[in-house]
Subunit: 385 residues, 2 copies
């Protein structure tokens, strides 16, 4: 059977992770979660299936088109197979953990499934790891989440990491003061996305200079902060801009070596964020490693709690990781002492036990892709020079 | 909202794992997989969704009734949401890993979903962890899998562990030599399940004595082995019985302190096993912690490979674990030095960062359920005596 034929055994976008990638993914997830836990983020584990009405509540509605649906034979109600976990974590915060002190720090890891892949991401099953910080409006909370994600990515070996910081609510706040019609607003949005300074100037009338300056401010953090600090923006947008600057300042204190870029007019992919937002990249690696930002978390009684969070995508993350170190493998001939096997494993060796006598232990060790074999109580190298 | 009302948000048998259980489950899974890996079992990660025809291949057919089904909008073919992972791992062994040397050791962890719960297990989503040893007929392979699972369970803190060993193919082999009709065979099966020695004797004619002796042999390993060693069984069953004794002997060498019981006539739940089978229990804990045994793994070209494996069920396993140790939590007031925070985490503390100044750090630390707060560079206990 050809490799291609074998792969076609699985639905498009569904893959088997094989050795050593499967172990590498799982080790990376564990190490990320260990850091999240050490920073006070407590693990929660929502189920794979939920009723539609809870899964598509609030920001979850955006994923309704992307969600596999199933009839629950017990309740005769429709369930969705989760396409994201943030809505689930927010639901837990709003219900069973509503009595816990705020800010509430929660973390999670799990599989999400999507009806269709997209251009950036073919996979229809993605392992996600995330952290949510719920119940704080502080710019320190935004900085904490970004720094936490950056530290986690560095910890697992991502190099050439950068974070792009955006403020998707800034342009709408400025546009409101201009009294633009919906079609003018859309034109402005589009002109900004094209980085078309002339069109931006024409549409934004008396704020033309400001919006052009915002466009020009995008770039490495030092330059962006200097440019943004000099700007005068309408009152409605002033608080937003100050918060962005405060978040960036705190983030630079927390992670002085992190490569940060700021794009104050960027909004694509941040449609449901309500403040400072961000995406992580590793130079030379296709796709985002993760993204997140501020949002309104639906709480009990129809209220909302201020929240921010991050989701890391293990598929692109795996592409950003160095090859894992392969541990040394030792073949243990039949009749070996189990105590020696335990001692070898404690030293970091992988042991493969033989069950029946073979003609030549060394040959068998080589056949089993081992580096050593146990001869009496001595480790011997399979390939001696 | 009441606890009950909140729980009803989720479909029956679907649960949110909360702190600290979610972290405890995940830590237990990691530690089990670490041991499996150290013993040469390489991690694989099959997808949650597969086409029906691969998911229900071979032994997977048994789970067809229990499997949620979905239409794949891309291929217009039916997919199943896995109800078990063994079939998937066997598929991987038979296709993409068919060229790897045998015996092939693979391990996995993941969520499985079932259409309905049962009396023993209400949950419809269960986290499974397992190991499969494919391509060895040796009794040493059976012993290795049982010992491996026992070691993993001990490692994560399960106490009062026991394993019940069965040989579900033994009675059918004896029944074949008796030439029983299908209904007589069923009667015999039922009488054995009831441990009804008189009925067993009546049905099994000239083998009445043998089957009664098998019934009586069930129990703690020393007694069972002594009784079974004395038996003379029909030729067809002799090899089976010798293998059972060989597995038990090797297992006792590998795990001299493991509590083992043998029930040579037990077969319930082992319908798809082809040889020595087993189930793990912890005294005082409801439900099996795991089970497994020998089976025929479908290989390329319609062949079968001899295989054995084990699956551990995290829901019952969590009930068998001691309460996890809660790490000490430290509140770090706003403006703290990030380096001190890192140093504290490296010492095993959980740190919770404050983002804005508060009236009294100690009070805030208590509100956030911390044991300590950082005062300058000094850790101070929240509740001083």
């Amino acid at each position: 059977m050809t490799e291609k034929g074998e792969k076609a055994l699985l639905p498009a976008g569904m893959v088997d992770l094989l050795p050593p990638e499967a172990a590498q993914e799982s080790a990376a997830i564990s190490r990320i979660l260990d850091l999240f836990s050490a920073c006070g983020y407590q693990r929660v584990k929502p189920p794979m299936l939920e009723f539609e009405e809870t899964l598509f509540d609030g920001a979850g509605a955006a994923l309704s088109q992307q969600t596999f649906r199933l009839m629950d034979p017990l309740s005769q109600r429709m369930m969705g197979l989760r396409a994201d976990m943030t809505t689930q974590v927010v639901r837990i915060a709003a219900t069973r953990l509503s009595g816990e002190p705020r800010p509430l720090r929660l973390c999670y890891a799990g599989q999400v499934l999507r009806v269709k892949g997209n251009q950036l991401r073919n996979d229809r099953q993605i392992a996600q790891v995330g952290a949510e910080l719920i119940g704080s409006e502080s710019s320190g909370a935004d900085a904490e989440i970004i720094a936490l994600a950056a530290s986690a990515l560095e910890k697992i070996g991502v190099t050439r990491l950068s974070v792009d910081i955006a403020l998707p609510t800034l342009v709408p706040a400025i546009a409101r003061t201009l009294g633009l019609s919906p079609s003018e607003s859309a034109d402005l949005r589009e002109a900004l996305d094209r980085k078309d300074a002339a069109a931006v100037k024409a549409i934004s009338k008396e704020h033309g200079k400001l919006l052009s300056a915002l466009l020009r401010a995008a770039g490495p953090v030092e330059r962006a902060v200097a440019a943004l600090s000099r700007l005068t923006v309408p009152e409605d947008a002033q608080e937003e801009l100050e918060r962005l600057l405060a978040v960036v300042e705190r983030l630079r204190e927390l992670k002085p070596d992190l490569r940060i870029t700021v794009d104050p007019t960027e909004h694509r992919g941040f449609e449901y964020q309500t403040g400072v937002s961000f995406a992580f990249f590793a130079r030379g690696v296709r796709g985002e490693l993760g993204r997140g930002g501020r949002y309104a978390a639906r709480a009990a009684g129809g209220c909302f709690e201020p929240a921010t969070g991050v989701t890391l995508y293990m598929d692109s993350l795996l592409r950003a990781l160095p090859e894992p170190d392969a541990p040394s493998r030792v073949y243990l001939p039949a009749g070996h002492d189990p105590k020696i096997a335990t001692a070898l494993r404690e030293k970091g060796f992988v042991t493969l036990a033989g069950h029946d006598p073979v003609e030549e232990d060394r040959k068998e060790a080589r056949r089993m892709a081992c580096d050593y074999w146990l001869s009496g109580e001595t480790l011997r190298k399979v390939e001696e020079n």
